[in-house]
């Protein structure tokens, strides 16, 4: 039972298992142990980024495909829901139509890009996707009537998940609003999609992807049509990115170029993959949790610390809250230096006795 839920791919390290359980329980109980909109917002973002990054790692870590169009698909899914709810009204059929359209459009675009360019080398593929994604970004900023341009689209969502909906009596002191429902909906959805990706990478298909990543020449020589496998991996990763985008739009009740298409989001994805570790799905969980918490709370932490070092010349300057990006960068460099395989890679290797 547990074996098939986790697709036989267990953490295989006690520290990692503990970290995963803490993350899981933390996300599960966020609305109750960290009250307030901000914590829930970070929790929801972590759930979404776990899925988004896991899909990215399916392509990069497991197949050896570097796609800079990942945020484009993230955006397509988000725009799908935003436009559908905006134009068709805030009910569930609009949500489904928007999600479905986003996924189908993403699948088609990903397939076309794959078939045209997966034969070329990794770097060219990366550049082609970068070009397509940039063009899409500009297009969305310009097409004001459809996408709301730079301002994006604010839209209404079904009542059930609208924050102002009161659903039940307070439970453990927490008001059960539409936001709580939205949070748990998101949580369950992300969990299911994550387990699905975990299954795919541990299926016969998933091993072929790894073989192609290792040695595509030999993979072809033993009879696998490399382009077909790469295309399926790309389409799957892109469709899941679109799904994650739909979830984000529903959560924010907004989508615009800045929230899903920006290059800074692509950087976030890359950093999370590197921090968590490539080619381990659990890396996306640990990476997303650590990165997003740091991104959201490092500034607060620095504010606290700064109060204590007020007046000490250099140190107070270094610990100024505005320097949070510097500390983040340093942490990243240290992380890459000490854990070239990411945190999860390191923990697993240690558990297996590999140095």
């Amino acid at each position: 039972m547990l074996n098939s839920l986790f697709s036989g791919d267990f953490p295989r390290s006690r520290v990692l298992t503990a970290m995963l359980i803490i993350t899981f329980v933390g996300l599960l109980l966020t609305p109750f142990i960290f009250p307030g909109a901000r914590a829930m917002n970070v929790g929801a973002k972590i759930c979404i980024f776990i899925v988004l990054v896991a899909a990215f790692d399916l392509m990069l870590g497991y197949t050896g495909i570097l796609s800079f169009a990942h945020t484009m698909f993230f955006g397509i899914g988000a725009y799908g829901v935003a436009i559908a709810c905006d134009k068709l009204g805030p009910d569930w059929s609009s949500v489904l139509i928007g999600m479905g359209a986003g996924m189908v459009i993403s699948a088609v675009i990903a397939l076309v890009i794959s078939l045209f360019s997966l034969r070329v080398r990794t770097l060219y593929f990366a550049m082609i996707t970068l070009a397509v994604a940039s063009a899409f970004h500009i297009l969305c900023s310009q097409l004001g009537e459809v996408t709301g341009g730079e301002d994006g689209i604010n839209f209404m969502v079904p009542d059930l998940i609208h924050p102002s909906t009161q659903l039940a009596e307070p439970f453990f002191g927490v008001e059960i609003t539409g936001q709580i429902v939205a949070y748990y909906g998101l949580f369950v959805f992300a969990l299911v999609v994550f387990l699905f990706i975990l299954r795919v990478v541990n299926s016969p298909f998933g091993r072929v992807l790894q073989a192609i990543r290792d040695n595509e020449f030999r993979a072809a020589a033993i009879g696998y049509r490399v382009v077909v496998f790469r295309s399926i991996s790309t389409v799957l990763g892109s469709v899941i990115a679109a799904l994650a985008g739909s979830l984000l739009a529903l959560w924010l009740r907004y989508n615009g170029p800045g929230s899903t298409l920006g290059f800074d989001i692509m950087m976030d994805i890359l950093l999370i993959v590197v921090i968590g570790g490539m080619a381990t799905m659990y890396g996306s969980v640990i990476g997303a949790a650590i990165y997003l918490i740091a991104q959201n709370y490092l500034q607060d932490l620095l504010k606290l610390v700064q109060a204590d070092v007020e007046g000490i010349p250099v140190i107070s300057g270094m610990l100024h809250p505005d320097r949070w990006l510097l500390w983040m960068g340093l942490a990243f460099i240290i992380c890459v230096y000490y854990f070239p395989w990411g945190i999860v890679g390191k923990l697993r290797m240690r558990a297996l006795g590999i140095k």
């Binding site: 697709s7 290792d214 072809a220």
Partner: protein
């Protein structure tokens, strides 16, 4: 793939097979037929075009002219994976494995290719016992059972050569192409591979091609020898007769073959 082949119909045939790299003709109009149950040794000095001839048959490089037939079907235009699935097996001169997969996974991925199960996205890889058992059987044959959980890149050279052959065995091909399978192996490892080749030959219905520099090995295994020289087929016949011919004497006694380089 398994249709019965009367012995007078060749399993594999090349007609006027030619490839040119720039101005250099690496394989020059080679016509040759190979029959089931036979082992043909392909010899010739370094750079003669032996590996390139294999590359043309298994589809790694496109031909400039000429055709390849497998069971009478023209496969010259098919991509490599299609040729493999029609029964062409290849073990490479330069070891060509999946370095980050374990030894067992390497073989299993090939067993799975043979079973045509690559597009199964939803079942659990670890649940397919039949594939695992087959992989284990092959590991036994190439004497790698005890290394099954080692990553391929961590194997010593000799074991990598054995795994290289194991990957081809896992495909259960009709045509086996060995490209210097024992090159760089230690003396005590060589018999594992030679016995294996003999066993495949004894099945009687497989077609074997063997590129080999060691004349004693060739003498022991081959029913027939063909000689390539500057891409041209210059001799073809019974082993004793070909080995005694001036052209082989010159090629092999004139300059000792250098095995340090080669193309995959």
């Amino acid at each position: 793939m398994n249709q019965p082949t009367p012995s007078h119909h060749p399993v594999l045939e090349t007609r006027g097979l030619t490839v040119r790299f720039g101005g250099h003709v690496a394989v020059n109009s080679v016509s040759c037929a190979f029959h089931a149950g036979s082992l043909t040794a392909i010899v010739g000095p370094n750079g003669a075009g032996k590996t390139t001839y294999f590359n043309l048959i298994s589809g790694q490089i496109p031909t400039t002219a000429g055709e390849v037939f497998l069971f009478g079907e023209n496969i010259s235009k098919l991509p490599t994976p299609s040729r493999t699935r029609r029964g062409i097996g290849r073990a490479f001169q330069l070891t060509n494995l999946f370095p980050f997969l374990t030894v067992q996974e390497n073989v299993r991925i090939a067993v799975q290719a043979r079973a045509g199960m690559g597009l199964d996205l939803f079942s659990l890889w670890s649940n397919h016992r039949e594939l695992l058992e087959k992989a284990e059987y092959i590991l036994e044959q190439v004497a790698l059972t005890s290394q099954r959980y080692t990553q391929a890149r961590a194997l010593p050279h000799g074991d990598q050569r054995k795994l290289e052959v194991g990957l081809m065995l896992a495909l259960e091909p009709e045509v086996f192409m060995f490209d210097e399978p024992t090159a760089g192996m230690s003396v005590d490892e060589v018999p594992v591979i030679l016995d294996l080749i003999k066993k495949i030959k004894e099945q009687g219905n497989k077609t074997l091609l063997l590129v080999e520099h060691k004349m004693d090995v060739v003498r022991e295994l081959a029913d027939r020898i063909i000689v390539l020289h500057n891409g041209t087929l210059v001799a073809d016949g019974e082993p004793e007769e070909v080995i005694a011919s001036p052209i082989v004497q010159e090629a092999y006694l004139g300059a000792a073959p250098d095995k340090s380089k080669g193309t995959r």
